[in-house]
């Protein structure tokens, strides 16, 4: 999570629990043995290419699809056998808006509030609250079909909040939004998480998830490929980490590169950048052995100003996991650790 202020509402209480979820359509496996847990107050980003199984997983959680095997629970309630209770626990925003012609924003919200059985007076108050939260109050008299995509996404989010659900499941909430609207939506999601909501968000726009999510899950071909914080996933991808050594003088770049080549595994990738006075190399050596490399540089008379790991960004991780199956090195087992947030 890279927001300015860390949230204090994150707890260790598991709210969304998926265990060995599998969904098959004939011989095609849309979802393959997905196991994930999301704690209260967390934001989980589910990413993957088209057809990865993200929407299938989400639809199982909201009771629109039955899994072939496995279980899914929200706040202890089974998503398959007790879908009536699930509907009150979850606010679901699909990737399409679900517009009705000739209906004003307030009427739209009033209708969905009424379907949840909220009494008229309480509903009116609640509508004001969610419009205030989502910044849609100024468009209450506009027709929903005449709204821009960004406005519709906001109204969609207001709709999911009407019955004050514990968990928000948002399918591509920032898809198709302009940069300004994306920033606003991102801030809105962070605000909701601060209010104690648990969020499960899918997105293709990776930097957005980098900024707002506590945990990220990468899926391809129906399988979970990686799970953890953005930093953890970066490390899982990059079994060979990228290290940069910043030097005082560009004259020492070649000498430093030779020392590093001798210190790390033979044939490793070492790049000299004299213009920047930097030597960059990739290695699979653990942290303790990297300290030894630094010591050898200093002993060799190299004046080092910085010796640091370059962060692998989520985009690189995503690309790494979404390569064709033969090129994928990591598996849920190999990425290590129990898959729990």
């Amino acid at each position: 999570m890279t927001t300015d202020q860390p949230r204090t509402t994150v707890t260790d209480i598991p709210v969304v629990v998926m265990e060995h979820l599998t969904k098959q359509y004939g011989s095609f496996t849309a979802l393959n043995d997905l196991t994930l847990t999301l704690n209260a107050g967390q934001i989980l980003g589910l990413i993957g290419p088209n057809g990865a199984g993200k929407t299938t997983a989400i639809k199982i959680l909201v009771g629109l699809i039955r899994p072939t095997s496995g279980t899914a629970k929200i706040d202890g309630v089974d998503c398959v056998s007790d879908s009536a209770r699930i509907k009150r626990l979850v606010g679901y925003m699909p990737d399409t808006f679900g517009s009705y012609d000739n209906m004003r924003v307030r009427e739209y919200l009033d209708f969905f509030g009424a379907t949840f059985g909220i009494a008229p007076r309480a509903r009116a108050k609640r509508i004001e609250e969610v419009m205030e939260t989502t910044g849609t109050a100024y468009m209450k008299d506009r027709f929903v079909e005449s709204l821009s995509h960004g406005m519709q996404q906001r109204v969609g989010l207001a709709r999911t909040l009407l019955h004050d659900p514990k968990v928000l499941i948002l399918d591509e909430p920032v898809n198709g939004l302009d940069p300004q609207a994306r920033i606003e939506m991102r801030d809105l999601l962070i605000q909701l998480a601060k209010r104690g909501k648990t969020l499960l968000v899918t997105s293709h726009i990776l930097p957005e998830l980098t900024r707002i999510c506590d945990r990220v899950a990468i899926m391809t071909h129906g399988k979970l490929r990686a799970f953890g914080t953005v930093e953890e996933i970066g490390r899982q991808v990059s079994q060979q980490r990228t290290i940069e050594s910043h030097l005082v003088s560009a004259d020492q770049v070649s000498i430093a590169a030779n020392i590093i080549r001798q210190a790390i595994e033979p044939g490793a990738d070492v790049v000299e950048a004299p213009a920047e006075a930097i030597v960059r190399f990739r290695t699979a050596r653990p942290e303790s052995e990297l300290g030894e490399v630094l010591a050898q540089l200093i002993q060799g008379g190299i004046r080092v100003t910085q010796f640091r790991e370059v962060q692998t960004d989520l985009e690189e991780a995503f690309m790494s996991f979404t390569r064709p199956p033969q090129a994928t090195v990591a598996t849920p087992a190999s990425v290590g650790g129990p898959i729990h947030a």
Binding site: V62, G63, L64, I65, R66, V80, S83, A84, K87, R88, V90, Y92, P94, T96, F97, G98, S99, Y100, D101, N102, M103, R104, V105, R106, E107, D110, F111, F112, G113, A114, T115, F116, G117, A119, P120, R121, R123, A124, M139, D141, R142, F143, S146, L147, R159
Partner: protein, 552 residues
């Protein structure tokens, strides 16, 4: 360039599997029609009466088929492209509006040519049976069919340039076709044989209908067996008026095919409550129920689905319905008063017939447009998956939706009640008849609603659902009337009675003893049919709703 346009249009039309099924079905129907009347006797009648009997049915059948099938294609042609964004691409090419329009028109006419070509073997068989002239009869029937196809294709395209949604284009086009082909026959029937401007108006309107032209050509008696107009006159008038209407509508449609079709500002959501008191007063006066007023919260006692359906439909909102009902009430009272005062020498049965026809026309026109899209519009707008995530049960959703159709239909049924009350006051002996007519109309309304909803629920797209619902309802209402047209020959009394017993319009007209229908006893057979049909339709609707709401 025009060729490329026509090719693209035709390819997308003809690639559909339904189109192949349609063509096979048409060939089969025409083949059966000829087969059942093919001479089986070794002796041959030189008069060719048998051939002429088949020919009469064949002409009407072909015209009805064309009017049921064809309008949906031009109606959706432009608005679909507008919604998909391909119209903007087309307008951005050097094609220009003329080529775009004529490309689309040629494709629709080619499609109607295919439908007509399916009938050629049957037409040849009619000709081979003897008694028909190639140029005097067959060619003229095809002339009427072609001109009707041209006129309705152009009107459909024109409607399509104005519409903002596919289903509203379909609804409006079918309404126009029904109005121009069937409703125009009404005034002629009631005023024929009289003199004055009303009779002239009746004749002018009659000449707009392809059915009128077909009646005069095939020599079949008018509805009610009072035909007095010469056939050559009607055919010529129909041709000229149709070509004029087609030319005007074509120019109008072409003038709409430019950037202005997209140049529409998004609605800013004006609310009457925020306007001055004088504006509010006038809007209240004009609309009775102002559609721009700020609506209140849905009551705890109301079904939210019913309220939602009322709020999100354009046609069918209260301000439209109240006007419609007011017009019907005034018309029915006016007609009854005119008869009582001796202005028209029509008799109470005829007045009753007019009111029945008026109500039936409204029911046939309005019910599919309200009921067909109940489920398909939810699926198309993706609102269905949102409803699935609410705690509302399937039965409550279906009931809420049906209720949103029942209420407008009740208003329509009540519209002519004042007229019936006056009628019973004038002729107390008609009380039982009027009661039965009201039962017939109520049964028809329920049947039409459930049939349209059930047929519509089978489709994912509202346009297809609306077209299919109109097709199903019009088939039940119109096809038995084709058999009724051949009531003297080739069909006997029993055959016609059996065919009419499924027709709710004929049942109501027979109860009111409308000339032409008074000899048939259609009650209670028709009520049984409507009852069983309604229950079956409800079952289909519930089963289909349950199917789509189940987790996959």
């Amino acid at each position: 360039m025009l060729k490329a346009m026509v090719k693209r249009e035709l390819t997308s039309l003809m690639r559909r599997k339904r189109m192949m099924a349609l063509q096979c079905g048409l060939v089969a129907i025409f083949a059966v029609l000829i087969a059942i009347r093919w001479p089986t006797d070794a002796r041959m009648a030189l008069t060719g009466s048998r051939s002429q009997q088949v020919f009469q049915l064949f002409g009407y059948g072909l015209l009805a088929t064309l009017l049921l099938i064809l309008p949906v294609f031009p109606a959706t042609s432009i608005v679909r492209e507008k919604k998909q964004g391909t119209l903007a691409l087309l307008l951005n090419t050097p094609l220009g509006p003329w080529r775009i329009f004529f490309g689309k028109l040629t494709a629709v006419l080619a499609l109607s040519g295919v439908i007509l070509a399916m009938s050629l073997p049957a037409a040849s068989a009619c000709y081979a049976m003897g008694g028909l002239s190639l140029y005097g009869d067959l060619a003229k029937v095809y002339q009427i069919l072609f001109i009707a196809a041209l006129q309705y294709a152009v009107l459909g395209l024109l409607v399509s340039t104005f519409s903002n949604s596919i289903d509203s284009a379909v609804r409006l086009t079918y309404g126009l076709v029904l109005g121009l082909s069937v409703m125009t026959l009404g005034p002629h029937y009631f005023f024929q044989g009289t003199k004055g401007y009303l009779a002239d108006l009746g004749n002018t309107l009659y000449a707009l209908s392809p059915f009128g032209a077909m009646m005069s050509l095939t020599g079949v008696a008018d509805a009610g067996s009072k035909g007095l107009i010469k056939k050559a006159e009607i055919l010529g008038q129909f041709t000229v008026t149709s070509l004029i209407v087609s030319a005007i509508a074509s120019l109008w449609a072409i003038s709409r095919l430019n950037h202005t079709i997209f140049d529409q500002a998004r609605s800013q959501g004006t609310i009457s409550d925020d306007q001055t008191s004088s504006v509010r007063f006038f809007r209240r006066l004009f609309f009775l129920v102002d559609p721009q007023r700020r609506s209140s919260n849905i009551s705890s006692f109301a079904n939210p689905i019913t309220v939602k359906e009322f709020r999100c439909r354009r046609f069918g909102r209260l301000h439209w319905l109240l006007r419609l009902v007011a017009i019907c009430a005034v018309l029915s009272l006016g007609l009854t008063y005119a008869t009582t005062a001796g202005t028209f020498d029509w008799g109470v049965e005829t007045i009753g017939g007019i009111m029945v026809v008026m109500q039936v026309a409204l029911l046939v026109l309005i019910t599919p447009s309200l009921a067909a899209g109940l489920m398909s519009s939810e699926r198309e707008s993706r609102g269905w998956q949102l409803l699935q995530t609410t705690p509302m049960s399937i039965t409550r959703i279906v009931w809420g939706k049906l209720l949103s159709v029942i209420l407008p239909l009740m208003l329509i049924l009540c519209a002519t009640l004042p007229g019936y009350v006056v009628m019973v006051y004038i002729e107390p002996g008609m009380k039982l008849q009027v009661e039965r007519v009201i039962v017939c109309l109520a049964a028809m309304a329920i049947f039409a609603m459930l049939l349209s909803a059930a047929v519509g629920s089978l489709f994912k797209r509202t346009a297809a659902a609306t077209a299919a619902a109109y097709g199903a309802l019009l088939s039940i209402c119109a096809l038995p009337l084709l058999i009724w047209l051949g009531r003297d020959a080739p069909f006997g009394h029993k055959t016609v009675e059996a065919a009419l017993s499924v027709n709710p319009i004929a049942a109501a007209l027979s109860v009111i003893r409308m000339p032409g229908f008074q000899d048939y006893s259609l009650i209670p057979a028709n009520w049984w049919f409507l009852g069983i049909g309604s229950i079956a339709s409800l079952m289909i609707l519930l089963a289909q709703t349950y199917r789509i709401s189940r987790p996959q």
